[in-house]
Each structure stands twice: as structure tokens, then as C-alpha cells.
Amino acid sequence: MSAVNLISAESIKLFSTRSPWWCNLLAMALPVGFATAAVLSWPTDLPISVTEVQLGYQFGMMLVLVMAALAVTTEYRFGTMRTTFQAVPGRTPVLLAKTVLVAGVAGLVGLVAALGSLGVASLLHPVSELGLGTAHELRAVLGVAPVFVFSAVIAVAVGLLVRQSAGALAILLVWPMLVEPLVSVIPTVGEPVQQWMPFMAADHFLRGASSMIADPVLSPAASLAYFGVVAVGLLAVALVVARRRDA
């Protein structure tokens, strides 16, 4: 059972239905659209920062979470997960293949979205002299790719644990959008705890000082590593559970 064959089988699955195409196209288009809107509403004589331009990554991330979760939950919904496990009874190899594929696609989508946003913004707003010159700019633009990769890994893991679309999507949209940003509202413990929220850490990596975290302990690079560890850890739990459970 070679890894290449399993990834290839998973890519036939992913690209032979329409919804992943839509999710991925929108995940690229929305951030670029957001960047366009941000630049057009910005004063033409004031430079706009790369962080402002890339803020739309969050919309792309939502769609990548949806795409990755559905890649798992629709298989449970339509019973093809059973056929999959029948074909690959070890389960873990095929689930890893799916994760690699979905996360890889998510990374590409993130790269296209971020470079597209940057491109559109620098065309429309030459005064800003946007580019990839500084470490901060590199992170804010190219960093979208690894953030999308790990987001997709988290979504696959949640999909495997919850096994149904509505539940998985509710968790994946409410958690990063509402729960994590609102943690700081909790008195005294809220703010120190917030920076250990995974999607907050990812945001800190991308946006550095502009992120919501008040007093960061981790450096931006360490924040990305932390986000990755959370994603991989969650996936490991999900793989163990999927292996043990009746399909």
C-alpha cells in the first residue's frame, strides 16, 4: 500500500465532487477581494502595511476549515468511509494520506491567496512599496501557507472525531471566530490564557505586534510551531480513535 497510491486515491475523491472546488476557489478569492477593498478604502498618499492587506486570510482560513472537515465528514455521511476502511483496513495510512492531501491543497490555496492579495495591493497602491523584504513581511505573506496547512490538519482531526458535518463545522467556525477572541474577557486569567489558544497563536505568527495578544510569551516563529504541535497532537488523537471505533 504505497503512500503515493493512497494520496492519489484521496485526490480522486477530493476533486471528483464539486464542493471542494468551490471552497478552495472562494478561499483564494475572498482574501484577494478583501485586500482589494482594504487598499481602495485606504488614503492614496498613506502607505498601507502588509498586515492590513493580509487581514482577509481569516476568510480564507474559514473556507479551508470547511473544505478539510467536509473531506472527512461527507465520507461518514455517505458510507464511503466504510468502503475506504475495507480497502485499507489499517485505516491510519489512508487517513494520513487524506490529511497530507487536504493539508497540501490548503497550503497551496493559502500561498495563492496571500501572494494574490499582495500582488493586487501593490498594483493598486504603489505608494506603500509592499514587498517581501522584511522578516515581518515574509511571515505575513508566505506564513499564510503553513497556517492553512495546520488549520486543515485540525479540521480533518475534528471531522474524524465528530464524524458529522454540522457538528464539525459548528466547532470549527465558532471556536476560532468566537471562543478564542472572547477568552480575554474572562477576568484575570483571560489574557494570559488567550495566547495559548491555537488560532490566536497562528494570528500572532502572521500579524506579530498587530495581533490581539497583549503580552506575548512566544516569539512569532514559536507561535507557529505551537500551532503545529496542537494540530498534529489533535490528529494523533483522532487517528487512534478512528482506528479503534466501529466504522
Partner: protein
Amino acid sequence: MIEVEHLTKRYGRTVAVDDLSFSVRPGRVTGFLGPNGAGKSTTMRMILGLDRPTSGAVRIDGKPYRELDRPLTRVGALLDAKWVHPNRSARAHLRWMARTNRLPNRRVDEVLETVGLSGVADRRAGGFSLGMSQRLGIAAALLGDPEILMFDEPVNGLDPEGILWIRQIMQRLASEGRTVLVSSHLLSEMAQTAEELVVIGRGKLIRQCGTAQFVDEASGATIRVRSPQVERLRGALHQQGIEVRDEVVDESPTLVVVGTSSERVGEIAAAQGVVLHELSIQRGSLEQAFLQLTNEAVEYHAHNGATTGNEGTDR
């Protein structure tokens, strides 16, 4: 060869499969027979390694399913024809399956041809009729050209033409020397297709034997005789060495005669000058006899007894 050994599956306090042991040999169609809820599908899922047995084991040619290399080339199964993404084409469905087990795309075209779906291979599977879905399921089972095939209630809901086609394909597969296990809740259906039967009820093995033997035992043709002179008739029949059973139908005493013809019974009655109120051959007793056998093993009873045919579906 499928060997099921002391297989047990519990869901909380419910025992779905209870210490079940049987084996399925190659070169014939083996019917897996039992009323709805008897544990047939659960057993099949455990054979495929989808569900984990509480205890016991299943071996496919000596190995657990999970240890098979490229399992689609060893075991093909159709458990539910609806296990297909409705927006995916039949061809794409088979192609991803083929890829996982390193089967060439050529095989996909071959099995589509075999089941007669080549013309609609690129249409979305969600638009397929039940008969077409069933054919797609069979194509998927045949994909790896496996020696062992399992079908769960394959004729459920099909039209007569579809039923005939399924029967023929199963018999063809068995005649090629393959191991074929087919489940059904209808004895009459199994009598048409299966050479051997594994009969279960409430998760327990009731019988593993040849179909002919099971049918003979279960349905030895019976003749029902009602007469106001039951005693004289019984004596006369006994004298001829004919087996007689007593029954009460609509509060009138009735004899049930086994192993002779209605002509013979009529002649004996006439010779003795016995008046008959009824002389009838009890046909279609196959399902009834099967139900009697599995009676204690039926999971749920209808309120007015289980003597009417069990024609429901599993889902």
C-alpha cells in the same frame, strides 16, 4: 474460505451476535439466512474488519481481514449499495477504490462492462435507480477479482429482472470456484440461489447445512384434513403407516398428514366411509417452517403471532 469462530458482538447490554461459529467454503453460494435483526449485517461488518468483535475472531484464508495485503483482491463485498457519494460519478467511485489497492484503471472499465453500467459511468451515482446502484456495488465488489465475495441482502427492493440478474451473477461466481456468501431474510430467495445455508437467529447459529436438506426438513409437504370422524380416519391412516399430527383449526379437530399425497388420503377416507370437511395441501409453508425454526430467535414479534410471512426489509 471464511472461518467465523466464537464471534460475539455486544452493544451495551444488547447482544447482537452471540458466540457464532461457521465456515464458508469455496465453489458454492452459501446463504446467510436469518430474520431481520438476527445479526447478519453485524457479522458481515466484523468479517470485513469494520466492526470490532467483543470476542471471537474471523479468518479469511487463515488471516484476520486487517492483516490482508491489498484486501480488495481477496474479498469483495457489497454491504450497502447506497455507500457512494451521490455527486461522484460511478467511474470516479471505482477509480479511487482501484487506486487504493494498486489496481489498473482498466479494471474499472472491465467491471463497469460486466455489470452493464459503461453507458452511465460518468453520470453522478446519486441519480441511479436502486437497480443501478446495486450493479455499481457489485462492480465495486468485483473490482479486485477476489476469490471471496459477500453480498448483504442484494435482491432487496429489486425488480424481477434485477433479482434474476443477481442470482445468475452469484451462481456464475461460485461456479468459477469462488467463495460466495449472500445474506437474506427470505428462505424462498435462498432456496433459489444457495447450495448451503448458515441459519442464524438472535445472533446465534441455528443450523449450517445444505439448502435441500434444510428445505426438506423445514417444509415436508403437509396435507390438512378436517373430519367429524377424526378418530376413525387417524386409525385408518396409521394402519397404512402414514404419519399424522393433531391440530386444532377454528376449534375443530384437524389432522395434519405428512409424507403422502392428498389423493391417497382421499382414497383411504372413502374406503373407510369417513366424511371429510376439508382436504387441502398446505403450500408455501417454507417461510412458515423457517419462522417456526427461528421463532424463539426472532428479535421482535408482531402482536398476532409471527405466522405471517416476514417480508420487511432490513432498513
